[in-house]
Amino acid sequence: MRFVYSAVGIVLGGLFVYAGVQKHLAPYDFAEAVMGYQLLPQSLTGLTVAILPWLEMVSGVALILGVLPLKRLVINRFPVGTLLRRSALLLILGQSLLFVAVLLITIARGLEIDCGCSLFVQRQVGPAAIVEDGVFLLLTGLLYWRERRVQSD
């Protein structure tokens, strides 16, 4: 079972790194997608476009490092691997919650726009995008719950 949790962690981290790299390499396309949501003023759009891709990449890399090479790393009695893993999961949980909320708001407003969130194919805001983020949310929640359960055992 431990292997399954590790594999899920690596895949989840990898997907976040991939999503971040895609957005980082095409910042102007991403900016247009963010503006399409009509949720943020221009000043915050620029900040989101600059920071969000790096947040995805940093949290993805931290999760992968915490799951594999640094899993049991302890420095000065500090469990660095555990802290990396859990803080990354918290960040991914927060991002997934934010994405689902934004998608729901957009659907409620009746906007038919490119979601700017697709991993492999371009698509509009709709049920498929919500299911994808819902799966991320579920997996992240599961991994985090297991982390805390292992500690309390």
């Binding site: 790096w54 009695r77 802290l83 918290l90 960040l91």
Partner: protein, 167 residues
Amino acid sequence: MTRVTWRRELTWAVGLLGLAVILGFMFHWSLVQASLRGKLTVLLDQKRQERREMQFPGVRTLDLAQAHQIWQEKQALFVDARKAAEYQKLHIQGAVNLLPETWALSSSELMKLDRRRELVVYCTQKSCDDAFKLAKKLQAAGFSRVVVFTGGFRAWHEAGYPADPSR
């Protein structure tokens, strides 16, 4: 070993967020600056135009006023490059629906037209590229007077110009 508490986890998460902020500012400072000065739209328009000049060379464009004038003169055929569901909901009056992806399957009617007929292609809004993709295909098929209305259906609809729910 030091126990991992909620506070420690959150502190590390904030640290990772701080790292993302620093990296984001380092790599996209010009974009952040433009948005803080309220010039993000101008920057995006400029970058989009530069990209399209590279990606779709030789495709002429029209703004809203020019497109409306041509529509009033009834000289050109308007071609809607959006998805069928969007087209059926509402489209520029008199426009036909043709998608760049299904071009080969659904262009038979259009292929009967005189190749010198003026075609005005549009998609959803100024940020979409489907009209440009279709325009290139129409040019390759021999149509010599193909132009793209860059504002797309959103600009047309917001201006209150005539639109139809079905063909």
